[in-house]
């Protein structure tokens, strides 16, 4: 399936290569570089490319390209999903997925890649199985290893590999047994000029951090599970229980993981927490324009809106911005033409406003269209869909764990057209 993998940084250097079958020369990447050149932006490179003898499937993550070489028919999503899993694993092991980190840990990364695929077919992709085979580096361990000559590589088959709960290792022990769940909802919305909702939906995710001893069997139930329109689960969740009782029953992986993703049907009215009054205009005469943006609370369910931020991709012709903000600070990046207004907490008594003039390049025609506003915000202790966890039960172990649920609403792809 996957023949080779090349890691390429944003300047186009190949800094790691791995072959699972016979070696393929680097020259195959030239086709990719060609496409990369053509695409201008790295995001615009088509993920699937054809070359005379090979097929190239790539992902772009953390300013790196993961480029895999394929020789025969394979579902492209299979490869894409796997490449993202590689990036996830690297992130999981070293805290981030960047060129520097990979270069510093090149041997561990190589060992990981070796275990993750056999002959191009995924062998072990569960993070905790991998961690039993190749322990993630810690300072303490590397000191101990140099002193004792012990190694980071396990010599027995990870228990998870054979069991039908490959996501959990056996013999987990904690002195403090805790299970935390974060219900995070993102509002995806497009508002038009007049402020009416063109499209809005809620995407939710439940992130869990479970540190429990032994083999606990958990059941998480909701007050209003009917809200959830479409769901996808971590493999640990028993689908049949969900089908019949609408509860999440699972033996959790150890540590952090995404328990489920859900979608709240767009048929339900989605509460839009803020409104935006804006006017951006460019004058026919003279190289300038005006900008005036005010943001106010709309449906916030009595909670405070925090972390408010507005990002505007200005037309290329805009040279500079001379603005005043009643609250927060703004920056305008001349190279990328991005205006960022970092507002912070939204005070309903005194609405934040950003006002001033824009200078455009003299001689160029006035920009055709107005840029759209991307809004970021956060509301603590609120799941905007109204979803509530009713209880968490544990079976299979005797101790009483500490349990906690946190709610958070964020703006996802929240766009205001102007």
């Amino acid at each position: 399936m996957i023949h080779s993998l090349f890691l390429i940084n944003h300047t186009g250097d190949i800094f790691l290569e791995k072959h699972w079958k016979s070696v393929i020369g680097r020259s195959v990447c030239d086709y990719f570089f060609e496409a990369r050149e053509k695409a201008v932006e790295p995001e615009n490179v088509p993920p699937v490319l054809q070359t005379p003898h090979h097929y190239l499937i790539s992902i772009y993550r953390g300013k790196l390209f993961f480029l895999s070489v394929i020789q025969t028919e394979v579902p492209p999503l299979f490869v894409i999903e796997f490449l993202h899993r590689v990036a996830d694993t690297i992130q999981d092991y070293f805290g981030e997925c960047s060129e520097g980190v990979i270069k510093d840990n090149v041997v561990t990364v190589y060992e990981l890649l070796e275990e993750m695929l056999d002959n191009g077919f995924p062998l072990a992709t569960e993070s905790n199985v991998l961690k039993e085979m190749i322990r993630p580096p810690t300072i303490l361990r590397s000191v101990v290893n140099t002193l004792t000559g012990a190694s980071n590589v396990g010599d027995t088959l990870p228990t998870g590999q054979l069991s039908n709960v490959p996501w959990r290792r056996v013999g987990v022990k904690y002195t403090n047994n805790e299970a935390y769940f974060d219900v995070i909802e993102e509002i995806d919305a497009i508002l038009d000029k007049s402020g009416t909702t063109v499209f809005a939906e809620i995407q939710g995710v439940i992130e869990a951090c479970v540190r429990l001893t032994g083999m606990p069997d958990l059941t998480l139930s909701f007050m209003n599970p009917r809200l959830l329109d479409d769901v996808s689960f971590h493999p640990c969740v028993r689908f049949k229980r969900w089908e019949s009782e609408r509860v999440l029953s699972f033996i959790p992986p150890d540590g952090n993981f995404t328990l489920m993703n859900y979608h709240v049907s767009s048929q339900n009215l989605v509460a839009i927490p803020v409104y935006v009054k804006q006017s951006i205009s460019f004058f026919e005469t003279g190289p300038c324009g005006r900008l005036d943006i005010t943001i106010g609370p709309k449906q916030t369910m009595g909670k405070t809106v925090e972390g408010l931020m507005v990002t505007i991709h200005m037309p290329k012709a805009v040279l500079s911005a001379n603005l005043t903000a009643t609250q927060g600070t703004y920056t305008y990046d001349l190279a990328t033409k991005v205006l960022v207004w970092d507002i912070g907490k939204l005070n309903p008594q005194k609405l934040p406003n950003l006002k001033g003039s824009l200078t455009t390049q003299a001689g160029t025609p006035k920009p055709e269209d107005n840029p759209s506003l991307n809004i970021d915000l956060k509301i603590q202790q609120l799941a905007i869909s109204g979803l509530k966890v009713s209880r968490l039960d544990m079976y299979g172990e005797k101790y009483k764990p500490f349990k906690g649920v946190k709610y958070l609403t964020k703006a996802g792809k929240f766009q205001v057209r102007t």
Binding site: F15, L16, E17, K21, V23, A39, E43, N44, P46, V48, Q50, S58, Y60, I70, E73, P75, P76, L77, F78, I80, E81, H84, N105, V106, V107, Y110, E111, E114, N119, F121, P122, L123, T146, G149, S151, V153, D155, T156, L157, Q161, L162, N164, V165, I190, V198, Q203, M215, D230, S232, F233, R238, F239, K240, E243, S249, I251, H263, H313, E368, D369
Partner: protein, 1008 residues
Amino acid sequence: PLLSGSFRSNGVQPAGAGTCVQSNLEVVPAALTVPYVVSTTLRVSNNPVCLSVLRNEDLKEMLESNKESLKLEAMKRVVGLIAKGKNSSELFPAVVKNVASKNIELKKLVYVYLVRYAEEQQDLALLSISTFQRALKDPNQFIRASALRVLSSIRVPIIVPIMMLAIKEAAADLSPYVRKTSAHAIQKLYSLDPEQKEQLIEVIEKLLKDKSTLVAGSVVMAFEEVCPDRIDLIHKNYRKLCNLLVDVEEWGQVVIISMLTRYARTQFTSPWKEGAIFDENNDKTFYESDSEEKKEQTEAKPYIMDPDHRLLLRNTKPLLQSRNTAVVMSVAQLYWHLAPKHEVNIVTKSLVRLLRSHREVQYIVLQNIATMSIQRKGMFEPYMKSFYVRSTDATHIKTLKLEILTNLANEANISTILREFQTYVKSQDKAFAAATIQAIGRCATNISEVTDTCLNGLVLLLSNRDETVVAESVVVIKKLLQTQPTQHSEIIKHMAKLFDNITVPMARASILWLMGEYCERVPKIAPDVLRKMAKTFTAEEDIVKLQTVNLAAKLYLTNSKQTKLLTQYILNLGKYDQNYDIRDRTRFIRQLIVPNEKSGALNKYARRILLAPKPAPVLESAFKDRDRFQLGTLSHSLNVKAAGYQELSDWPAVAPDQSVRNVEVIEPVRVQPPHTEEESSEESDKTSSDSGKSSSGSEKSSSESEAEQKKKKKTKKAPLKKNKLTAGDRYGEVPPARQLCVQMFPVSLSSSRVCVSHSQQLIDCGGLFRVSLQVTTPSFGPVKTYELLHHMTGKGLSAKYHFPRQPCLYQPSMVAVQVILTNSSDHSLEEIHIGDRSPASLNIHCFNTIERLEPEASVTVSMGIDFSDSTQAANFQLCTKEDQFSVSIQPAVGELLMPSTMTEEDFSKEQGKLLGMNETSATITMATANTSSQAIGKQVLSVANVGVVSSSQNNVHRFAGRTVSSGAVVLVSLEQKESCAALLTINTEKSVMASMLLRDLKQALAQA
């Protein structure tokens, strides 16, 4: 300290900075500049994996030292070099020496190196082979597996026979992990030497029978690679694969689903025949011709879906909820290609969900939705807004969304879509704006109601400031005008006015073509345009020149008075143009329109040739013909047939024989339970699948047998229903594997662990005694159920138990017991659990507390009891929230055994060791009904959980087992004398057990 020493000696310290640079230059490609090298050297000099600082010489020295840590350090550097793609092949001899190292990390790094360079250094690579051959026999399954992985990855043709042997052995390994590795090795060997195909197919066939979820995905992958056309190998495994699917790891699921899609298309008949009602598009689908052929047949016989077809659809459906996008996509394509039309809709939601995922995922999913939405608008129409474009999307995502929106457009939603398109046209991304204009054009042709609106909108765009937008509008307007030219001379005039300002060649060419085509509608303007063109002709692009020549010719024919000279001028210019296309065209046109003696017969028809009415172009989706590829494939994504693409065949007109998928009963000494016919056939299905499962040391068997139990109860409860069981019901009854897992979770979980240690143990002792002893499949006799608690004494709670004869999941020394708890009272019982036990030392693995048992409900739980090889009853208390009931389980002596297989030879050998005091024998009289060897087997197995030893003598029957707790060997042999008399001998060191067993067997065999 050692390390830093080595650094110093190798000149990394400042003193040796010069040498550093030098040594670097040997390995660093010339493209890198010297300053760069220096900077990395300085930066990494403190880094444990600093790579290129050391010379190969130094690495060699380190590898040959006798310090493990130095070797490891050197190997890390070497692997670093490999990762960077630098050549380190000259270290091969030094590296390969370390292949037998005790240090596991060092060993693994050597493996990495070997796999990379073995192909180049074949002779040296052979030195390592013996190490792997030894490792293949290692008691540690992980070592065995990695040895096979590396051995099979060494691409040296000379070792093909060794690989073949290793694969065959590993395919029969006890550890499913090793078997999985062997499935991978099959593909490697096949690519190294395709000659081995036949032998490899045999191994694949064997592995396909494997019941382990771990192996399933890998072996199907091997099947796809080596022999995808041998569909016959799948028949017998089809149902098993369907049932295992939910529990296979996610990558395996993708492969299996795509294989089963192909399989189903060859084996089942089309579910779409009567599907015309669901085809809301009403246009001819590409299967139409197919369905017409069979119309008569359809009318004669209504379509009934093959139960196996249904099984596949049902068992894949839950996977739509997978977190793995590839799995979701593969289920979606399966439904698309296999499900009845009205069922396909269930995949919509999941596909739309994937649009939240990474950009690359979106790209592939949108491509597939684009293809689907052409045929089935209705599927995605409710989710139309999910395809709205955001300014932050990547260009290829935007274009795909636009494509889908256009496909979804119909009379009802067109106004919404056009409003949305208006926003897009203004986008800063001009390529996208141009694509939007094309999309508007497509909407306008497809939906006649809005053609005028669109046209007016596009005309407005002609005054847009951006050139690409204007150009694209012109091209699209041209196409639209062709559909109804009569009404639009105004627009043509408008475009003529704009002509001077438009510079994009394609747009200019389009306007010129329009002028020529409809020159009679704009008689005054057209000649003027031609005049202008004559002035600028030489400076125009080729495409514009060609259209100018065309325009001239058309005008010459319709209005020669005004344009004769202009035309001749242009033709003269064209005659000497640099482009041969234009010269050719000019020559051709001149001959065609200007009459002279040389011109042939065509001259007469010039008008009819040039001004023939032309059909309007059809604006089609770029995804129109993508449906020739299976969805979700690479070929579909590229719209080109990729290497190794397997065509999806059309449905067969008549379904091939269904019975090929029936699984025969393989169990040699299976005893038919005395049930009704229907039930037993149902069970035989189950049993055979069970037997395989337990042999692979898997966890499923216990859960399966429990399901069996449940089913039995069900049939008892509803005896009326029993007769109505059709084939469909039969499948309906089989609970999907995941459900079983849910019920049995704690059990199955630990089972796998036990199995591992179990097999481990066996291998160990195998190494010591060289006697091949194995735990065999439990024999399936009729299960005797005993009463544990009567509902009268239990205040409504009743309990029954039986011995499932499985290796116990909790501890190998325990006997597995299954207890069925039923609530016969009218209120629900809470907190059912096990309380005090006596003797207190009794080792019991309790079942988990049952929180609540509703009235009339029953639940089966598993427990393990260590009887310590005695028939002493295990007493314990069964408690509910309110009450406690003392109960006891007294095992029959035969239940304290577990079967073991051995050859006749081993049997005699073992028997030889257990003579004298350890032998108990008696002459018994058997009932006449029991004299056949099958009947004897049945009776013995009903009493004791032992395994059959194949016998070369007809009149001697041998059975072997071990006690569960201490593992003492128990051998039973029965020598038939004349008529009904027989000599029954039991050899074991547990003499008490022997006499009890003897008594039980005697009794059983005497019974009819």
